[in-house]
Amino acid sequence: MRDRLTSERPLVGVVLVSHSREVAASTAAMATGLVGKDPVAPIAAAGGTEDGGLGTSALAVLEAARQVDRGAGVVVLADLGSAVLTIKALLAEEDDLPERTVLADAPFVEGAVGALVTASAGAPLQAVVTAAEEAHQYRKV
């Protein structure tokens, strides 16, 4: 019942941008598995170049962002280099990214789990960004 209530408000979407198609897709699957309940917030993977190589496809990023946009905002996590720069270029040039799209300054895998769990709980955009970025504070040693 609680899930039904929270699901009436649109959930924040999460986009994972990696150089590798497999890393992006597997990280999305892992985060979804770790949410462990319904509803899971919308999540989409944009990994690799258009021809399946290592790199970033701006078109795939735009498509993923549109796919997860429910009107509550979109949090993007990226791994390195061109993945980060492509999103920043798209954000800076006011391209076709949905309104209220935010690049989280977060570690990729840990941040993705934090973001998706928080988004799935119905948290607003800024809380989802913060959850992703707080993954920096998770010390392993």
């Binding site: 170049t49 258009e50 790199g55 078109l59 061109s82 720069l85 492509t86 270029a89 800076a92």
Partner: protein
């Protein structure tokens, strides 16, 4: 006759750059295999092929329009870090040129300055970090200084091309502080930066385009 900086000029530049990138793709990728991920040549070729095709199918009628269209294609199609960096540079330059059908040598200087700012803002690199800025910044400075001395467009662009080439060659002695090459630390010294090298090709093509028209 002095070259006119209209849409046709920048389309000729694009045609030239696309051919140069095609010709130099293997060399750029070889530089990139020393300190990067060995894709700079093929990435640049894919980006400029897409940009040429887009501009040919819907030719913009202003210099700003051409540069903006090329920038958009580079961001979309390159697949590596050079895409958003060159794409942002050209879009900023295109926006600085506005909607005028012809621009002056001084407006081009300001547009090149906007391109430098775009690259700096996006990548966070500075001169000396062994990046495309090590060719672009001296080129833009040399272009402005030549105009100040009273050089015409072709002369100022020649000065820019020489400064870009020197800047690119000087990256051999630098240690990379940005991108994948930065993980190599001291081992990045001794190799010419692929991004600075492609920048010098783009600037040289600008000078050649002006030279051909004058």
């Amino acid at each position: 006759m002095e070259a006119v900086l209209d849409a046709a000029f920048f389309r000729r530049w694009l045609t030239r750059v696309t051919a140069v990138v095609e010709r130099e793709a293997t060399a750029l990728t070889e530089l990139d295999s020393a300190i990067g991920d060995a894709d700079h040549g093929s990435n640049m070729r894919r980006g400029f092929d897409a940009a040429s095709a887009a501009v040919d199918s819907e030719p913009p009628d202003t210099p700003g329009g051409v540069l903006t269209a090329v920038g958009r294609q580079l961001i979309s199609k390159v697949g590596g870090a050079s895409g958003p960096l060159y794409g942002t540079a050209l879009r900023r330059a295109g926006r600085a040129l506005g909607g005028e059908p012809r621009v002056s040598a001084e407006q081009l200087r300001d547009a090149l300055g906007a391109a430098v700012d775009g690259v700096r803002d996006l990548g966070g690199a500075a001169v000396g970090d062994k990046t495309m800025l090590d060719a672009l910044v001296p080129a833009v400075e040399a272009y402005g200084a030549a105009l100040e001395r009273g050089a015409d467009l072709a002369g100022a662009l020649d000065a820019a091309a020489a400064a870009a080439r020197d800047g690119a060659e000087a990256t051999i002695g630098l240690r990379a502080r940005k991108g994948r090459a930065s993980y190599l630390g001291e081992r990045s010294v001794g190799h010419q930066d692929p991004g600075a090298t492609s920048t010098s090709l783009l600037v040289a093509a600008l000078a050649d385009t002006a030279r051909e028209a004058s």
